[in-house]
């Protein structure tokens, strides 16, 4: 067992333990903090495997941004900070499934890669940058657009603003009250006439 192996083992133990705590902690904030540890351990393992840029990106993106986002989420949803039952009744089932999955995966991994080794020669950031902006430029651009899309999407869902109303069929339990004015509205003239449905609908469906 070489030195990198030992380092790797350390990240393994740390990250694994943290990951288990993330999914079992009774306190939500603790869970978030364990997540930080787990993700840092992942970053460390990147480092040991020669992916330096990835390691730092991991720390920045995940530990720096994602976890903060999650903490915000916890706050905004006013999650109870104290310890409490965070598990549903499927717990045994979940243990069986995930345990089975783990055993299965480890078995096949060991069977397949039992004696394989990983090249830990660090990848130069410049090399990575070059392929990223030449060969992988297109996916990279698309990924950028994807992030924009997700940003706008998150915004649409999360914001509340003036004049916002329910959609025509937003109702609870789907009661049969159609929009009377919508029904009376002559079909072809739709394009030009201003539908006044928004206002009516707002009164019906506003929470």
């Amino acid at each position: 067992m070489s030195i990198p192996d030992l380092f790797m083992l350390g990240a393994f133990v740390l990250g694994g333990a943290a990951a288990l705590l993330v999914v079992t902690a009774r306190n939500v904030v603790h869970a978030a903090l364990y997540l930080v540890i787990a993700l840092v351990a992942v970053a460390a393992s990147f480092l040991w495997m020669g992916a330096e840029f990835l390691a730092w990106a991991q720390v920045l993106v995940y530990v720096g941004a994602v976890v903060v986002l999650i903490l915000f989420g916890l706050m905004l949803t006013r999650a109870p900070i104290g310890p409490m039952a965070q598990h549903n009744e499927n717990r045994k089932f979940a243990v069986a499934v995930s345990g089975g999955l783990f055993v299965l995966l480890v078995t096949v991994i060991v069977a397949t890669f039992g004696d394989a080794t990983v090249d830990v020669t660090p990848v130069r950031v410049a090399d990575l940058g070059e392929v990223l902006y030449v060969q992988w430029a297109f996916p990279f651009m698309v990924l950028g657009f994807l992030l924009t899309v997700s940003l706008i999407g998150a915004l649409v869902l999360a914001r509340r603003e003036e004049g916002e109303g329910p959609l025509p069929d937003d109702t609870d339990e789907g009661s049969d009250q159609g929009l009377e004015d919508a029904a009376q509205e002559p079909g072809p003239s739709d394009v030009t006439s201003a539908p006044g449905a928004g206002d009516a609908g707002q009164q019906i469906g506003a929470p």
Binding site: S2, D5, M8, L9, F12, G15, G16, A19, V22, V23, V28, A32, L35, A38, V42, F46, W48, M49, A51, F53, L54, Q58, V61, Y62, V66, L69, I70, F72, G73, L76, A79, H87, N88, N90, R91, A94, V95, V97, S98, L105, I109, V110, F113, T117, V118, D119, V123, L128, V131, L132, Q135, F140, L143, L147, S150, L151, A154, V156, L157, R160
Partner: protein
């Protein structure tokens, strides 16, 4: 480096994530579990990159680039996911996943 270590690490993270997704009630905690799974994928990718590099070589650095993309996508997903959780919370004042069963059968 032995390939089994990172790969088993990834498997552990992944399985833990699965466990969390299946058993956590709080939607935010479920999101965290998903993050664990994505992290597992990145570990896998990086490890496999090393594996490939040690054998045939990978001039395009596909594994690492892929891992990078996965991180980006993970971030995007978390953003949207939190927005959905917030929306749900606003309308129902709870973020428990298993309370959401208005629609079934």
């Amino acid at each position: 480096m032995q390939a089994v270590f990172p790969l088993t690490f990834a498997a552990l993270l992944f399985s833990a994530g699965v466990y969390g997704v299946l058993s956590r009630r709080n939607a935010v905690l479920v999101l965290m579990s998903v993050e664990l799974m994505l992290a597992a994928v990145t570990v896998n990718l990086v490890a496999f990159h090393g594996l490939v590099a040690s054998e045939a070589g990978d001039p395009l650095l596909s594994g690492q680039v892929f891992a990078l993309f996965v991180m980006g996508i993970g971030a995007a997903e978390v953003g949207v996911g939190l927005a959905i959780v917030l929306l749900l919370y606003r309308n129902r004042a709870t973020v428990n996943v298993d309370d959401a069963d208005l629609m079934k059968y």
